[in-house]
Amino acid sequence: MSQIFYRGTNTIAKVSIVTIVFLVGALITAAYTLDRGSYNSDVAVVKEQPVPFSHKHHVTDDGIDCRYCHTSVETSHYAGLPATEICMSCHSQIWSNANILEPVRASWRSGESIAWTRVHDLPEFVYFNHSIHVNKGIGCASCHGRVDQMPLMFKVNTLYMNWCLDCHREPEKYVRPREQVFNMAYVPPANQIEFGRKLVAEYHIQKLTDCYTCHR
């Protein structure tokens, strides 16, 4: 009986095995990179807005508090985007003829809202509540990054569930004193874990990892 495989087959088999292992690894790496990367998560991606609004200018240069515009952040699940009226409270006086602010003035004249593009977009099945986080000592910058240094708004965190859980499992790593919540430049102390534990106890922070905490 003649041999089924000729001698060269061994080489092909070895090459195939190596290739398959490599391909599978490459696929997994590719999928992971794609999932975590900006392509899918939109991290660091600047989205086009009707007005190129600069948080850097308004927060750092002008010293406006977050809550001046995001009025309901302490009371509602939704932080709130400023009504045109809030923009116009300053811009009817300053930069009142600037071209880039024309959409704002147009909205004010016509009564039609400005349609902003959402940057931090959680899926519809997630019920996130701003007010409880702000009240329990989670700073704006903890999730949104140094907004005060962003000329144009972008996401710095993926907002994926495992990212949420990092803090929900170990809040002591991230919690800060309540009065520092709106301080963009807050630097955690060197003994954050120890300090955080103290705050967790003081603020009655719970490690909420039940599904129904966020999903209903």
Binding site: P82, A83, T117, Y127, A201, H204, Q206, Y212
Partner: protein
């Protein structure tokens, strides 16, 4: 097996009767099919979803199946790879003051139904109403709602609502209508309006009333008629007979020890039904001091060791534990209860031909034919010595009832049903007077209607004039008379003789079709008005949203007639009250009344009326089979036909959905060889309709009951062409009942979708009852049977878990629940629950998170009726959780059995393993994702589920979380009663209590410590968090039933 090709085995009723009499069948049974153990029933018992016919074999479903398949292929392939779509945020230009985006606002308003208003608080999310709740300050609601009110928000967004003004079927405009009306008015002015007629439903609105009166002064020869199909014609005539004047009768059930209901049905429908149910149940929340040893910290196995470190479980909030009070205080709470020896509760006798929730709550339910109810009333009055009343026949129970009533003089009441003949109403008034009830358990006031009248006479007069050609202009403001006027009056041909006809209505319906002008009406949530409660209390109706389709109101038509064409409904109502209130500070008066939802001090003052003995005549003896006409339990007179929620709400008595039927008793059916589903032709007074029979245990023999509201032809997409139109048989001389009916089988059969067989727990005594005597002897009857003993708690493989923080639980008091099913629709509205349609209900696929099971007990001719609401039990040892392969259903640290839609892959193992059958599966895309007008209806705090996922009761987790966040922000514990699930909020009898079991002072913990408390299927050791309080009955020992 396919439920549709019903190869039904005909029931052998003799065998069934024997089985029931020998006690061989289940003690509590749901249907005759269950007792007979028919294959149809067995299929549902063995498999929750028995019909496994693939949907693509169903020709009607082929298109939707293809659609679904197309979508699933697209999604299966792409869902994981698509990026989140771009989303825009649209802030206000000028944000209204009170508005905090993301937080709902509640506005007080009121809904008028059948001539009675009920105060409501309506939830609004950024200007769109999403949910209706009762107004706790309103006397007719006390915070509760019925399913009509709950579903009214669906009506607002109903895409089938009429959206434009039509002239001869062509799109026209309000302005054109106004000018047409002006021309008519100018012509009518020449003869003082001799040919001008207005037809409304019952008017209670003071503003509209005064507008009508003003108009009639303007045109003195014009006339105003009222027609309410399910109106209280008999109550009016009965009061006329007894007192010589119309009255409004208010029952004060909190003072009543003995209640006799003459087909009263007051617990489920009629004026002030929510208040009556509340007062009726108020004295049935029985607390005794025989406590079950309550051990909040020790209700776990002996030698408890905390389970393995569970990092993903909740860490309890420390302050929650600190607030826990020591157990010493518990005994103080229990001391409030009374000893079982002293327990009393009111006794109710109910006489009725067809089963009803009221009959179910009665301690003695007497099944009588409609004609015998009048005789019963006569005999009762005669026995009580009412002068001038003679009895023709005497029911054997009458002496005992009369004695019971006499023994409770001044603390008893007789309540006649709205659809009983006037003589029964008159007799009830006379009996109440004789029993000293007037002024105590019965209060009389002036009528709440603007003009109380005999509407039957009113509509007859109008039709007579129309036929005589005297009517030139007819404005039909609301209602649907062409569909609802009794057949013998032939409204349609009369309408043809009126030259100018206009119809103001929510839907472009049967009447609109025959009118030259159709004006689309504004929904009550879109406009201003006012109304009166059952006791006369005025509420303003304020809009929650601007009219979606520029709808108009009757008020605006009257201002047009008065030459003030541009006045807004707001100004009309406000100006009326500016004059009527005589208030010095009107702005405060108006704002306060709007905020509170009631106008203070507007309830009508009690009046004293003297019953005058009048010659009441007995109705002639019935000939042959009898018939009774009733509004449908969930659809009413047809006004709610197009609402899927109400169509799919199982009717309390029959558990039927999407249909009406000819109700007939098993014995009579047997005589005529009729089985459930057989098509029958009913002939009555020369007219005939064909519908299908439904065998209903506890229905009177030789009688059929038919319901209004079905057989619509222009009601909308949801309701057209289903069921039978009972108005086609109704006659104006006896609108409620009659005799001389002939029934004949036509040979056809009809398939009913009922939920009475589905989701059964087999015969495991889900309902537990005892008479007061039995309860006194054995207070622990609910848990003392051998079968009910739970397994010792250490006999479980589950690791034990210590619930340190909150521990949510619920009790449902079967002694209070009247089975009204309001909770079912409240839950549907709160939790975005989809409607599935008749065919799917037939396969057991309805989606209600809370169902109300109805059980019969005893013989099939005269059974007792029990109702039991069943939501998810939130078992501590939940069988569903263990079998889920993807951890889509898992336990929370507070003891809630969580359902995670995004993890669910649809194996349905969980529902298969659930002994209570409370899980619901989206077999198809049931949620309507495509009809735009439904988008604003949805509760934004609850996910709208897609196909292929399981869902179930969450204890209204969105409300729990909202309360938790608020309390955490204030660094405090959630207060007892702060969280009210939607079902408990709607419940008029307060049968459902929710709270934290870890707090021994909470109401729910106290109720769970009651001796009447029991768990369903406790022997399975599932440790349900939802438990029941056993029902107590208080029968009269003098009456031996038989």
């Amino acid at each position: 097996m396919s439920a549709k090709n019903s190869e039904k085995t005909a029931l052998n009723l003799d065998q069934l009767r024997a089985r029931l009499e020998q006690g061989k069948g289940p003690q509590y049974w749901r249907s005759l099919e269950e007792v007979a153990e028919t294959p149809e029933f067995q299929a549902f018992l063995e498999d929750e979803f028995a019909d496994r016919t693939p949907d693509w074999l169903d020709p009607a479903n082929r298109r939707s199946f293809l659609k679904v398949m197309g979508a699933s292929l697209a999604l299966a392939g792409l869902a994981a790879c698509t990026k989140q779509p771009k989303e825009v945020i649209v802030p206000y230009v000028r944000q209204p003051e009170e508005f905090v985006p993301g937080r709902p606002l509640f506005y007080a308003t009121a809904m008028t139904m059948n001539g009675v208003g009920t105060g409501l608080l309506v939830e609004s999310h950024l200007g769109r109403p999403t949910k209706v709740e009762g107004n706790p300050d309103h006397p007719g609601s006390l915070g509760a709602t019925d399913y009509f009110q709950q579903a009214s928000v669906l009506q607002l967004y109903d895409p089938d609502r009429s959206q434009v003004v039509l002239n001869r079927g062509r799109i026209s405009s309000w302005i054109s209508f106004q000018s047409a009306l002006a021309r008519e008015l100018a012509e009518a002015d020449l003869d003082k309006g001799a040919g001008f007629r207005i037809l409304t439903e019952t008017v209670v609105s003071p503003t509209l009333g005064s507008q009508i009166q003003d108009f009639l002064q303007l045109l003195p020869a014009a006339k105003w008629h009222q027609w309410e199909p399910a109106g209280r014609h008999s109550a009016f005539s009965g009061a006329q007979a007894a007192f010589g004047r119309p009255v409004n009768t208010i029952y004060n059930l909190e003072n009543a020890d003995v209640i006799v209901s003459l087909d009263g049905g007051f617990l489920a429908c009629g004026p002030g039904n929510l208040r009556l149910a509340h007062d009726f149940a108020a004295r049935r929340h029985i607390l005794t001091n025989t406590q079950v040893p309550y051990k909040p910290k020790e209700d776990r196995q002996e030698g408890y060791q905390p389970g393995p470190a569970a990092p993903y479980r909740n860490q309890a909030a420390t302050h929650v534990l600190e607030d826990n009070s020591p157990p010493q205080q518990v005994s103080q709470v229990y001391a409030l209860g009374i000893s079982p020896d002293q327990v009393t509760q009111p006794r109710m006798y109910s006489v009725e031909a067809a089963p009803s929730p009221t009959g179910g709550m009665a301690d003695h339910r007497f099944v009588l034919k409609p004609s015998e109810i009048e005789a019963f009333a006569f005999a009762l009055a005669a026995e009580l010595g009412v002068s001038g009343v003679t009895a023709t026949s005497k029911h054997p129970a009458i002496p005992a009832i009369a004695q019971d009533l006499k023994a409770h003089t001044g603390r008893c009441v007789v309540i006649p049903g709205d659809f009983q003949p006037p003589s029964v109403h008159a007799l009830a008034h006379l009996v109440n007077a004789a029993l000293g009830a007037a002024g105590k358990t019965v209060t009389y006031t002036d009528p709440i209607e603007v003009r109380a009248e005999d509407q039957l006479a009113s509509i007859k007069e109008l039709i007579g004039e129309m036929n005589a050609g005297q009517v030139k202009t007819l404005l039909i403001l609301g209602g649907n008379p062409l569909y609802t006027v009794p057949a013998d009056l032939d409204f349609k041909s009369a309408l043809d003789k009126v030259p100018f006809r206009a119809h103001l209505a929510l839907y472009n319906d049967e009447t609109s079709e025959y009118c030259q002008w159709h004006v689309n009406e504004a929904h009550y949530l879109e406009t201003w008005s006012d109304t009166r409660a059952f006791d006369g209390t005025v509420s303003f109706v304020q809009p929650l949203i601007a009219p979606l389709y520029d709808g108009r109101t009757a008020n605006e038509i009257f201002t047009t007639l008065a030459g003030e064409a541009d006045k807004s409904p707001h100004d009309i109502v406000r100006e009326h009250w500016q004059t009527a209130s005589k208030s010095a500070d009107f702005e405060t008066y108006w704002q306060t009344a709007l905020h509170d939802g009631i106008v203070p001090n507007t309830s009508l003052a009690p009046i004293t009326v003297a019953a005058k003995p009048s010659a009441l005549t007995h109705a002639p003896a019935p000939q042959g089979l009898e018939i009774q006409f009733r509004p449908d339990p969930t659809i009413w007179d047809g006004a709610f036909s197009n609402l899927g929620w109400l169509q799919e709400c199982p009717k309390p008595e029959t558990k039927m959905t999407w249909d009406n039927a000819i109700w007939i008793s098993p014995a009579t059916a047997e005589q005529h060889g009729i089985a459930t589903g057989d098509d029958l032709q009913i002939k009555y007074q020369g007219r005939a309709i064909t519908g299908a029979a439904f065998l209903l245990p506890g229905h009177a023999n030789d009688t059929v009951t038919v319901h209004f509201g079905y057989g619509r032809t222009r009601g909308g997409k949801v309701c057209d062409e289903i069921g039978i139109n009972a108005y086609l048989l109704q006659t104006s001389d006896a609108p409620g009942q009659g005799s001389g009916v002939e029934i004949a089988k036509t040979g056809g059969t009809h398939y009913f979708s009922t939920t009475q067989h589905t989701q059964t727990m087999e015969s495991r005594e889900p309902v537990r009852t005892a008479t007061l005597e039995e309860f006194k002897k054995e207070p622990g009857f609910a848990t003392e049977k051998e079968d009910d003993k739970p397994l010792p708690k250490y006999l479980t493989l589950y690791p034990d878990y210590k619930y340190e923080g909150y521990k949510w639980g619920m009790t449902i008091d079967l002694n209070a629940c009247v089975g009204c099913s309001s909770c079912v629709i409240a839950c549907q509205a709160e939790n975005n629950i989809a409607v599935v349609g008749k065919a799917e209900v037939g396969k057991g696929r309805h989606m209600h998170w809370i169902r109300v099971d109805r059980y019969f007990k005893g013989t099939m001719d005269d059974p007792e009726l029990y109702f039991q609401p069943v939501p998810c039990m939130q078992c501590e040892n939940a069988p569903c959780e263990l079998v889920c392969p993807v951890a889509a259903t898992i336990h929370s640290g507070e003891g809630i059995n969580q359902m995670v839609y995004n993890r669910c892959v649809g194996t349905r193992y969980c529902s298969n393993n659930c002994p209570y059958k409370v899980r619901r599966f989206n077999f198809l895309l049931y949620s309507d994702w495509s009809t735009e007008s439904y988008y604003p209806l949805r509760n934004p705090d609850v996910t709208v589920r897609s196909r292929g996922v399981m869902e179930k009761c969450t204890y209204c987790i969105q409300r729990i979380n909202a309360a938790k966040i608020e309390s955490e922000k204030e660094n405090r514990r959630i207060r007892d009663g702060e969280i009210v699930p939607a079902c408990a909020q709607a419940c008029p009898t307060r049968a459902i209590t929710f709270g934290d079991i870890n707090d021994p002072k909470s109401k729910v913990a106290q109720l769970k410590a009651q001796i009447r408390n029991y768990s369903l299927l406790e022997e399975l050791n599932t440790r349900p968090r939802t438990t029941y309080l056993a029902r107590l009955r208080n029968p009269n020992p003098e009456i031996e039933k038989g």
